[in-house]
């Protein structure tokens, strides 16, 4: 079940069996497909009516009508809508269908159509469709109702697909940003002979802390540094493993003959270090960068 809810509709992961699982989850079967197909003979006419209606509705709202800049664009989107509608009624529910729906979802997402806008529009669409079906099939209300239910299932399946693409697009953005943050360079700056400064900015996770350690140790070797100032003013949060890593980094620097000063410890970081039981006897610290550099220079003098 979890698989159905979390993975089946995701991009690139669907196989024939996961598609079948997803359809089963929506209680969609071939009979629904056949039901919907009964609408095919009048679909063109129905579609035109609904779409006209729908755009009249959309243009009443500033927010929604902003999406449409010209009559040409409206005409193009209307044509797309009609195709969408035809597929809703007659397309086979398979991988190709899912891919197509996801593609449309991505276009919507990129165009800045919010989920509210999207679902609201779909609901409006479905309502009109329901009214039309009732009107056209007055003679057989039973069939009309079943037909409507089938269409609703397919529509909900569509919406699920579209919303998955929304979520995926957001996740993708977040992933990219996290990647960028973790790739932030850690510059090693030489202040004077034997003294280097490493300003750390951004979020420190474990992998970045490791890169920082390597940069610092290589920096000591490269600049023949005997003192290091590690400034973490720009670090938002430090968790336990990262605190330990910072301490280990400074110990490793000492093994290479360089003394280090930690500056810019924020209130939160200080508290987390104290909770860890770090004794600051083992660490040289200074309140701000200026006094940290002064302290490091004094260390150089002492030799």
């Amino acid at each position: 079940m979890n698989q159905i809810l979390s993975r089946t509709l995701k991009h690139g992961t669907q196989t024939d069996s996961t598609v079948a699982d997803a359809l089963a989850w929506f209680d969609l079967s071939d009979s629904d497909r056949d039901q919907a197909a009964e609408l095919a003979p009048i679909s063109g006419q129905v579609a035109d009516e609904i779409i006209e209606n729908f755009y009249a509705h959309i243009l009443k709202f500033d927010n929604a009508s902003k999406q449409f800049s010209s009559d040409q664009q409206i005409a193009r989107v209307k044509a797309g809508q009609k195709r969408y509608f035809t597929e809703l009624i007659s397309a086979k529910l398979d991988k190709a269908y899912i891919d197509e729906r996801r593609r449309i979802g991505r276009i919507h997402e990129a165009a800045g159509i919010t989920p509210t806008l999207y679902i609201g529009a779909y609901a409006y669409y479905l309502n009109r469709l329901g009214l039309l079906i009732r009107e056209k099939m007055k003679a057989d209300p039973d069939t009309a109702f079943k037909l409507y239910l089938s269409l609703q299932k397919i529509a909900h399946f569509d919406m699920a697909l579209a919303l998955e693409t929304y979520v995926e697009a957001r996740e993708h953005t977040i992933e990219l940003q996290q990647h960028e943050i973790s790739e932030l360079p850690t510059p090693v700056l030489k202040l004077k002979d034997g003294l280097i400064l490493i300003p750390v900015v951004g979020a420190l996770n474990e992998s970045r802390a490791r890169m920082l350690t390597i940069a610092l140790l290589e920096g000591i070797r490269h600049h023949r540094a005997r003192a290091v100032v590690l400034d973490i003013t720009g670090v938002a949060g430090v968790d336990n493993s990262v605190s330990i890593h910072l301490i280990q980094t400074m110990q490793a620097a000492r093994l290479m003959g360089a003394k280090s000063v930690l500056t810019g410890v924020s209130v939160e970081v200080a508290q987390s270090l104290v909770r860890l039981g770090v004794s600051f006897g083992a660490l040289n610290t200074a309140g701000d960068l200026q006094s940290g550099i002064a302290e490091a220079e004094a260390m150089l003098q002492r030799g």
Partner: protein, 120 residues
């Protein structure tokens, strides 16, 4: 085979250069010879040069600490020189922080600490 770690003398300083893959036995041998050399020559400082080492295990680093401690008791100082970044990191991860032994990046810096080098 027992390769001996060479001990050089430069003024008042003894310099022992530890090669790669040094055995525990060689370390013990180094400890004994370095101590007696400090006693015999009246040297004021010793440098143990470890830059050629790839790894230093817990025994090795304890031996270095012990050597430094013993030399200290003879009134001389010891500086461990040439620990490379990779080794520093792996030592710290193993919890080997070498206590209070003095360290230096290279021979120049080590000699300077002992007061025999030319100030940079």
């Amino acid at each position: 085979m027992n390769r001996r770690v060479p001990i050089l003398r430069q003024g008042q300083t003894l310099i022992a250069s530890v090669k790669d893959a040094v055995s525990d036995q060689e370390m013990r041998d180094l400890q004994a010879r370095l101590l007696s050399d400090v006693v015999n020559t009246g040297a004021s400082g010793a440098i143990i040069y470890v830059s050629a080492l790839d790894v230093l295990d817990s025994f090795g680093s304890r031996m270095l600490s012990d050597i430094a401690g013993a030399i200290r008791l003879r009134g001389a100082r010891t500086v461990i020189v040439g620990i490379q970044p990779e080794m520093a990191l792996s030592m710290v991860l193993l919890g080997l922080s070498m206590g209070l032994v003095e360290t230096a990046l290279d021979l120049d810096a080590g000699l300077e600490i002992l007061g025999h080098g030319v100030r940079l």
